[in-house]
């Protein structure tokens, strides 16, 4: 059983303190209420729920950007267990956890190719002046990173794609959809085992949605990545997700196959508005 799971979220709670100007008493907004959730290996697990349900908050807790009040999160990777709460945010990438944010987090002042390269784990080749004291190794790693970035551009997008043609242009000029696509591609530069994708298709046109779906399938089926996917686009969920969880009142309210969850009476009433 354990071998099929990559991430186990165990009764995680989180509340925010909302201070009202008019009153002295603080209000606690309970966002996650002893939430349990499991992400299975090699699958796309969708997480759905109303705006403000706490989905992004959960991602922030897994990414260690904010602390939970109680509970635990365990990563299972290569027959090892990692208690994530013992790690700092910058250590998660080396554990194999990647993250796509809900808004564009592209480096606007950098070129398209640099935006990909920065997703590569350079290790010791990233020490200052590495090319002076480990010239061979740093040249080799640098070469591998560049080859990987060019390969992603060529094989995934093709040499007719603007990413290839404009690869040395600053990414700030890209449209929102292009930025999101580039950001998703950047995740493929790292050696991630689990990706947390926060609404990759929000604000994206249908052709781009198809393209992002294609990347997603490639990650899971060719690179062996497991995905936890926050989505509001139910077509996308139906098409790509293997399992679907509906979050409500800070808990994992209903889960099952996308068809089951989206067909569920309560989900339809509380979320889909039908």
């Amino acid at each position: 059983m354990v071998s099929d799971i990559i991430l186990e979220i165990d009764s995680v709670s989180k509340s925010f303190i909302i201070t009202h100007n008019s009153s002295i008493t603080d209000n606690h907004l309970l966002v996650l209420d002893s939430l349990d959730l499991i992400v299975e290996c090699g699958k796309i697990t969708a997480l759905i729920g109303s705006n403000g349900a706490g989905k992004t908050t959960l991602f922030n807790i897994v990414s260690r950007l904010i602390d939970a009040e109680k509970g635990s999160i365990t990563l299972y990777s290569e027959s090892q267990e990692y208690n994530l709460f013992k790690y700092k945010p910058h250590q998660l990438a080396s554990l194999g956890i990647g993250r796509l944010f809900q808004s564009s987090h592209i480096f606007e002042q950098m070129s398209i190719i640099d935006n990909l390269l920065i997703g590569y784990q350079y290790g010791s080749a990233e020490f200052p002046y590495a090319n002076l004291y480990i010239p061979g190794k740093s040249r080799e790693i640098d070469g591998r990173a560049k080859a990987k970035a060019l390969e992603i551009l060529k094989t995934i997008f093709g040499t007719d794609h603007y990413f290839w043609k404009q690869r040395n242009q600053v990414a700030g000029r890209l449209s929102y959809g292009q930025k999101r696509l580039l950001e998703t591609a950047r995740l493929m530069m790292g050696n991630y085992k689990l990706m947390l994708l926060d609404e990759p298709t929000a604000g994206i046109s249908p052709p781009f949605r198809i393209e992002i779906g294609r990347l997603l399938e490639k990650m899971v089926h060719e690179m062996g990545v497991s995905v936890l996917l926050i989505e509001h686009n139910m077509h996308f969920v139906r098409e790509h997700a293997d399992i679907c969880h509906f979050m409500h009142n800070g808990r994992d309210h209903v889960f099952g196959t996308p068809a089951d969850v989206l067909g569920n009476e309560e989900v339809r009433r509380m979320y889909l508005g039908a």
């Binding site: 990414s63 990647g98 480096f107 920065i118 784990q121 990233e126 200052p128 002046y129 002076l132 790292g190």
Partner: protein
């Protein structure tokens, strides 16, 4: 001719200072007003190593680089808790601390009396302008060192990481980079380079006293760095050229020396305002403010 040599040496000195400033303020978001303190530390430590311990100039340089570098690294750790403007205040605090120490601990630093009789080693044995020529050769060596140190950072994966941190720390965290350590490293390099610029300054001018390394010098350095531009190589070099050229231009206009200093301040202020409005990257910089 001698005067031209002197101006060239000043250019090399400012180039070293602005290159070091650009590494910190240009490649990270740590705006600093303590650069004069690091130059002063470098000058005083260097002079003490040479005059007090009798070390040769060439050996004093790496020691100064490491000591001022470590100090800069420690100061950068304040940025973990103090963001943005608060960090600038912390650097001002550090700047004042160093100045007070240099000024008041006169048993060690000779206080306001200053230290005289410092000199650069001579590169040539018996040329007519040997002192200035030596100064220029050493200055060029310092600039080459600073330029290479900067270039190797700019063109490396490390430099890309710094630019990433400058734009968005949270993204860099999730991409597996620690902003604190990376900033600490670049602050080590930047402060170390400022420190060795200080030892060059002391050697060339031949005299140091604490008032050379006050807050207004730090402000001047940051202003010049912003005017020239930061985050690349050409910006700091353009800034240094500008610093050296403006007083000369004023002199050519026939202004009296007593007025020139004040007018210079006004000109810097006006240019800064104009640049912020029309050219936020400075004359030739990469980073926009």
């Amino acid at each position: 001719m001698n005067y031209l040599l002197h101006l060239s040496i000043l250019f090399t000195l400012y180039a070293c200072i602005l290159l070091s400033t650009s590494l910190m303020a240009g490649l990270t978001n740590l705006i600093t007003l303590a650069q004069a303190a690091f130059i002063g530390m470098g000058a005083y430590i260097g002079v003490w190593l040479m005059k007090g311990l009798g070390l040769p100039f060439i050996l004093a340089i790496p020691i100064v680089l490491i000591l001022t570098g470590i100090t800069g690294l420690l100061l950068s750790l304040a940025s973990v808790r103090l963001k943005g403007d608060y960090y600038i205040l912390a650097t001002i605090g550090f700047q004042s601390l160093v100045f007070s120490f240099l000024y008041n601990c006169d048993s060690i630093t000779k206080g306001p009396m200053g230290i005289v009789g410092i000199s650069l080693p001579s590169v040539f044995q018996s040329a007519s302008h040997s002192y200035l020529y030596s100064g220029l050769v050493i200055g060029i060596a310092f600039v080459v060192f600073s330029v290479l140190s900067t270039l190797l950072v700019l063109r490396s994966p490390f430099g890309r990481v710094l630019k990433g941190i400058r734009e968005n720390e949270t993204t860099m965290l999730t991409l597996g980079r620690n902003p604190v350590t990376n900033k600490a490293i670049i602050c080590f390099i930047s402060s170390g380079l400022a420190g060795i610029a200080g030892i060059f300054y002391a050697g060339y001018i031949g005299y140091i006293d604490p008032t050379n390394f006050k807050l207004d010098f730090s402000v001047f350095i940051l202003t010049a760095a912003i005017i020239g531009g930061m985050g690349n190589l050409t910006g700091p070099l353009a800034g240094s050229l500008f610093i050296v050229a403006v007083p000369e231009a004023l002199r050519l206009l026939g202004l009296q020396v007593s007025h020139a200093a004040n007018i210079q301040q006004i000109i810097y202020g006006l240019i800064l305002i104009a640049l912020m409005r029309f050219r936020p990257r400075g004359i030739a910089g990469e980073k926009s403010f």
